[in-house]
Structures are given as structure tokens and as C-alpha cells.
Symmetry: C2
Subunit: 292 residues, 2 copies
């Protein structure tokens, strides 16, 4: 490594470029309809609409059709279920994502598990998630953020087997599935969270430290060893001198002076998440072409 910054944005760009070529190539035959991604967005939370905008733009750049289903905060659960059932059988849709979180009156698991695992490009149906975690099973799609982290480590030739991987945070989108992937890649894996006593004891032991706690400045220089590779998955929007800035969960400036590798925020794990989502959509699309 000539620098210790793990540039997720660069890798993401090259993955997206490659996907674009794949789509163009298959499309040029004139035989296939384009890949399609449908999203369901409920309400107008600023984070959710921002993420959707980013995903939509990335799809546009690649030639992936986007089908947006946007609902009022007050939408009835049955309406979402009916929408997903239609998307399950819609041949122009190869992937469906439900932008989370959903409002409290909606049963998130019921909604997501209505989705056929074959179009579950976020990897969040119970059956895909079970297959992700189980030793000798594999999901149809891996959740995008954790598989993006693994791809980033691979790209920078960071070995995982035999390492101590410590994950801080245990969300279904990041911490839990990433811990499962570290375990499958033969790392000794520890999950820390808000109940963890002496967090620094675990982070100091980490060869690979992944942080998805949503707490700016949680991980400081004194909490890690110099050989450590850090994946900062936190995305926190802070107001600094009147401006909105995005920061992760780690003290990037302090840590980059001492560790072997660290992802920046922005331009680290975030872009990898989007690249993996689109990769999943293209994989799903290609499988319908192969099977047809």
C-alpha cells in the first residue's frame, strides 16, 4: 500500500464502469430489455430521500431503469405488500429495495419478507439473511454495505483469515451481516455494541476494525493498534460552522496518522454500498437472461 487510505470511491467507480460495459454489451444485441431496479420510499425523511437520489443517479449513469414507488408516511401496510407482490412478478424489475427505516406502524419484516428472495438485492429477506450466516449456505444476494467492505479489503489485499475482526455496532444492515462475512472468511470475530464494557479492550485487539455505531468520534487513536485496518461505516451529518458535513464514527485525522489503513467518510464505504447494490441488480438481470 503506498497510502494508508482505502479509497472506496475509486474502487466503486471502476466497478460501476465495468457494470456499465456489461450492460451496454448485453443491450447491444437488441435482445434484452434493460436491467430494472424498483424502490419503495415511504415518507420524506431527509436521509432516505438523499440515499434514493444517489441510487437513482447511479442507475441512470449505468442504464438501469428505475421504478420509484413513493408513499405518504401514513400509507397502509397492505398497500406496500400489494405493491411488492406486483413487483415480484414484473419482468422488467430485477431488483427491489425498500428504503429503511419504515414508519412505526409498518411491520418491517412482513414487508421485506413479502419480497421474493430472487429480487432481494439488499439481501434482507429472512431466508437470504439465514443463508448468509449459515456455514455452508450462500444467499442469492449479499447485503450491500458488508459485501462492499469485504470487496474493499480484497482490493487492497488485506487478508482476513486468522485475523481478529472487531465489529462495533449490530444493525441488520451493517454490523451483523459484516460479522457473519468476517466469520465466513475465517477471521476470529467479535461484535461490540452499546452494552460492551471496556470497548477499547476489544478495539485495541482488532486487526480489522469495522465501525457502524452512528457515533461521531467514537474511535480515537488511543483505542487501536498500529497494524489495524479500519472500515468506518458511520455516516453522520454534522453542522460545522454553519455548514453540513458528513463524518464517520472514527477520528479520521488522528487515526490516519497511526493505522495501516482507514476508509475516509465520505468516499469510503458509502460508494461501495451503491456499487454493490447495482452489481446485485445486474447479477439478477443477467440470471434472467441466462435462464430465458
Amino acid at each position: 500500500m503506498t497510502s494508508n487510505i482505502l479509497r472506496g470511491k475509486e474502487l466503486s467507480d471502476s466497478i460501476l464502469q465495468n457494470l456499465k460495459l456489461q450492460i451496454q454489451q448485453l443491450q447491444s444485441t437488441g435482445l434484452h430489455s434493460p436491467p430494472g431496479l424498483a424502490y419503495i420510499l415511504v415518507g420524506s425523511k431527509i436521509d432516505s430521500t438523499t440515499y434514493i437520489k444517489l441510487k437513482r443517479r447511479a442507475c441512470d449513469n449505468l442504464g438501469i431503469q428505475v421504478f420509484g414507488y413513493e408513499y405518504e408516511e401514513s400509507v397502509a401496510q397492505q398497500e406496500l405488500i400489494d405493491c411488492i407482490k406486483r413487483l415480484n412478478t414484473d419482468p422488467s424489475v430485477h431488483g427491489v429495495i425498500v428504503q429503511l427505516p419504515l414508519p412505526p406502524h409498518i411491520h418491517e419484516a412482513n414487508i421485506i419478507n413479502t419480497l421474493t428472495p430472487e429480487k432481494d438485492v439488499d439481501g434482507l429477506t429472512s431466508s437470504n439473511f439465514g443463508d448468509l450466516v449459515m456455514r455452508y449456505r450462500n444467499p442469492l444476494f449479499y447485503p450491500c454495505t458488508p459485501i462492499g467492505c469485504i470487496e474493499l479489503l480484497k482490493h487492497y489485499s488485506v487478508g482476513i483469515a486468522g485475523k481478529h475482526a472487531v465489529v462495533v455496532g449490530r444493525s441488520d444492515l451493517a454490523g451483523i451481516p459484516l460479522a457473519a462475512l468476517f466469520n465466513k472468511a475465517n477471521a476470529t470475530t467479535t461484535i461490540c455494541h452499546s452494552y460492551t464494557r471496556d470497548l477499547h479492550k476489544f478495539t485495541q485487539s482488532a486487526d480489522i476494525l469495522a465501525v457502524a455505531a452512528g457515533q461521531p468520534g467514537l474511535i480515537k487513536q488511543s483505542m487501536v493498534k498500529p497494524e489495524c485496518i479500519i472500515l468506518d461505516i458511520g455516516i453522520n451529518s454534522l453542522e460545522v460552522e454553519g455548514n453540513r458535513v458528513l463524518v464517520g464514527d472514527c477520528d479520521f485525522e488522528g487515526l490516519k496518522e497511526v493505522v495501516s489503513g482507514i476508509t475516509p467518510v465520505p468516499n469510503g464505504v458509502g460508494p461501495m454500498t451503491i456499487a454493490m447494490l447495482l452489481k446485485n441488480v445486474v447479477t439478477s438481470w443477467k440470471s434472467t437472461i441466462t435462464n430465458s
Copy 2:
């Protein structure tokens, strides 16, 4: 605790006694058919036939009907799938277990995922397993060995939240789902396995140590701290002076002198596994009564 031995057999006996009373009570109305457990056994591996014998005997004692489907080692996969499909809709069967391992020509996940999650009393379908691991979802049935471990800790008032739980071994039957349960119970959780370097570093940090590695004598006195609670999930059959004896993965005699708590082998975790299986069957049976 007056003794530091965690007596799984005693707790198991009292759970089974309680289940027996529940069955008798509901049966005494004359309105309900008895609970039924079907098993699928392929081949005649000595371990597998022994486990089936133990489960069958426990069912007989409780008044649970047992439906045995035993196949030659060479059975075709489709035959097992057809059998499970019939059991899925058989109203006298409330739980189905597939005794593992299956022969190499059978795709284990395909067989198990043919089973409806509503009768998956081993908790091993992908969707039940995903719901076990995910933060805000719950499976219809928990895998029997890990939930038996949790029940045993509860019975002995061993707190889990905030503790460092270390699991050695990562099978789908024991290590992985137990780690998920420790995490859900708010322990900081580490999974160790054959790739782990410096195993003793992790075991020495453990407040709760669960061992399911299948290696007799793996955990010794020097590897743990005195406050540690040990769950020995290993079941190894050894020949000692011409006799077959069952031993766990821990040096029980040495460890019981120093630790806060330890399960013996036999009569520790093993009987809890069977009690939890039968509890799952009775839960499934009762749900059909409630829903009818």
C-alpha cells in the same frame, strides 16, 4: 450457587415433566389429537441412530407420537423432498426433524428448506435462521442446543448482558446460533474456530465460554479466568480402558476446581437439547390447537 456444576439433566427433567403435564391436560379434554414429531433418518451412522433413539424415548415418555422415516444411505434426494412435502401438510405431525449429517450426495439445505418453517422444530430452515440472527426479528423455533444453553444460564441466574461471551466452534447447530443468541442477549460476543490464533487470549477474556469444537481436552484450567461460566457442548465418544465413555471439549475435572460454573458431559447441555426439541414440538402443537 451452592455448587458450581450446571446440572442440565435436572433442569431438563423438570422441563420435560412440565411438558408432560401440559400434554396430559390438553389431551384429557378428548378434543385434541396428540402432538406428533416426525424424523427423517438416512443411513445408519451410530451417532445418528443413538440421537434418534434418545429423542424417540423422550417423546414416548411424554405422550408425543413419533413418525419415523428411515432411508438407506443411497436414497434419492427427490424421495426425501417428497416425504417432507407430505409431512408439511400432515395434520398429525407438528414438528419435523432431519437427523444430520446427510450423505454427501444429498443437498442438505435443499432438503431442510423444503420443510415449512411452521414445523421446523430444529430451527434450521434459512428463514427461521435469518430471523434468529436479525436484530428485530424472531424465529418460529430456536435451534435446540443454543436455546438450551440460554435456558440453563437463566435457570442458574447467570446474567448475559454486558458480559464477554466467547463461543469456540461455528457449526450451524451450535456455535453460530448460540453466538447470535448471546449477541441478542446483549453480550459482547466472539466466535473462535480452527483459524483462531492464540485461542487462550480469547478464552481467558471470557465471562461465559461455550465450547462446541468436537475436540476432547481443548479447554484447560490455564485457559480461563476463575469467574468464568463454561458451557461444554462437545460430545465425544472415547475408548478408555476398553470402555466407551462420553467426554466434552473441556477438561472437566481440572476446570471444575477453578471456575464459577461448568456443565458436565454427559448430563449437561445434551439433555437440554432434547428438552428444547420437545418444547418446540409442544409449542407447535399448541399453536395448531389455538388456531383451530
